[in-house]
């Protein structure tokens, strides 16, 4: 992407800044993309939660951290454009992948809603990261090894009726289901409702993976089942993976379990033999 004025604009574009929306991955430095590390090093202004930013390493004295307690993603996105339009090098920090229930959608939406030419001239890049779903899956085997869907259970920005309808179709389609934002103090009962809905479609033995703080020092990955899971095993920092009808678990030699969803589907026809 170029930030130069194009041929239709006789007036040279003002020198504008750069806005990078980056994903740290799960947290461990070893799972963060080098391009993301470079953006962090080049940043003048860092926007995001201090907790996430510090996961990525120390902040230099010449770097500003704008860690508003502001929970409004659109306000943070607009702040980022305002600073970048002034020529600053701004990095918006999300954990995981910035495109998955994180800041990338808000930043692009803010641009869509603006007709400020200075915002349009900002050099906007989005750098992906390893998402919590894939990091959790890797720790426990390959539960996302076949068709899956990724949903947020938060009804802050969408009505519960939409969430329930989606869960129903995800269940009917026999997708493996990865749930973000599964439970919060403000919404203690929605995970229970979701599990009740899924239990109408899948057996109690269906493997369920709970990944909390995966890739961080307090990492805990638990394997349970749809029949046994208790909602209080889950909090807002837990990624929940519900298996499909084919997802299997088996014991690890050193304790714990491996969980995977095979790449094949049972089929009477000969050309679908596993392997």
């Amino acid at each position: 992407m170029s930030t130069h004025a194009d041929g239709q604009n006789a007036i040279p574009a003002p020198i504008s800044g750069r806005l990078a929306v980056i994903g740290l991955g799960p947290g461990a430095a070893g799972l963060m993309a080098p391009d993301v590390r470079d953006e962090l090093d080049r940043a003048q202004d860092l926007i995001g939660y201090t907790t996430y930013i510090q996961m990525a390493g120390p902040v230099r004295p010449d770097q500003r951290v704008l860690d508003s307690d502001n929970r409004c993603e659109m306000d943070r996105a607009r702040l980022a454009f305002t600073l970048a339009a002034q020529g600053r090098h701004v990095v918006v920090v999300s954990s995981g992948d910035p495109g998955v229930f994180a800041m990338a959608a808000a930043v692009v939406e803010a641009l869509d809603q603006s007709d400020d030419p200075a915002w349009q001239a900002v050099d906007l890049v989005i750098l992906p990261g390893i998402s919590a779903a894939h990091a959790t899956a890797a720790r426990i085997g390959a539960p996302l090894g076949h068709d899956f869907c990724v949903m947020s259970l938060s009804d802050n920005l969408k009505p519960w009726s939409i969430i329930a309808q989606r869960l129903e179709h995800a269940a009917l389609g026999d997708f493996v289901i990865a749930l973000y934002n599964p439970r919060s103090k403000a919404r203690p009962s929605q995970l229970s409702q979701a599990l009740d809905l899924l239990r109408r479609h899948r057996t109690p033995a269906t493997p369920v993976v709970l990944g909390r703080d995966v890739g961080r020092p307090a990492e805990k990955v638990t394997v349970t089942t749809l029949g046994e899971i208790q909602p209080d095993q889950v909090d807002m920092r837990t990624l929940v993976i519900i298996g499909s009808s084919l997802t299997r678990q088996f014991p690890r030699r050193d304790g714990g379990a491996w969980v995977y969803t095979p790449r094949w589907y049972p089929n009477p026809s000969a050309d679908s033999t596993p392997g």
Copy 2:
């Protein structure tokens, strides 16, 4: 994970090797996790397609590349365990994330099917990577910014009836849909069938993103619509993202388009105001 013999086994476990199933990410070195780079450097045996392995950088003379033309994933998984059980440090290479339509599920399934204690003693780790879906999404904005599903259109290992049923539920649930393996010479018509199915549920203006070789030198990202897409724009190396009813596109200042799916859902109630 430990490879030591546990208390139930009085005979010390044999010294066994390590089997790392790794994801290179989309291809560019800047998007590969440092932990993955380390595994590649430590590898004695590399299993995977030469094309992928060479994307990751040069192979040292002391490293073996086992690039069978073998298309059978289970055979490659068993070869990896056989070598690791002999004490080798084996790395199985996938592009993207190894847990998404790649080798992790086959490797864990091979372990599940084996009762060889030497295989059980192998130090098995799976290291995630940035998947093609997230890499493509980042290049074009945030099309996966809300609930989405990830499907393979290949019917090598599952019947088309299952695929069609899943597509139907993904459409009814208004998920954004990321399609892997959308089309091959052996299956030229299935993408057309999938698009016909989706057109019954979504408007012709629905944004569609085609990401080919994203993160590689020949990268090409195209934005089209469900009404305009032609199946011959797509091949096996293309990742296709079909928007939900809310996915939007708008022009970039320098040409091309941004595509995103907002984090909010229209709702008459006051507590769901966007932002």
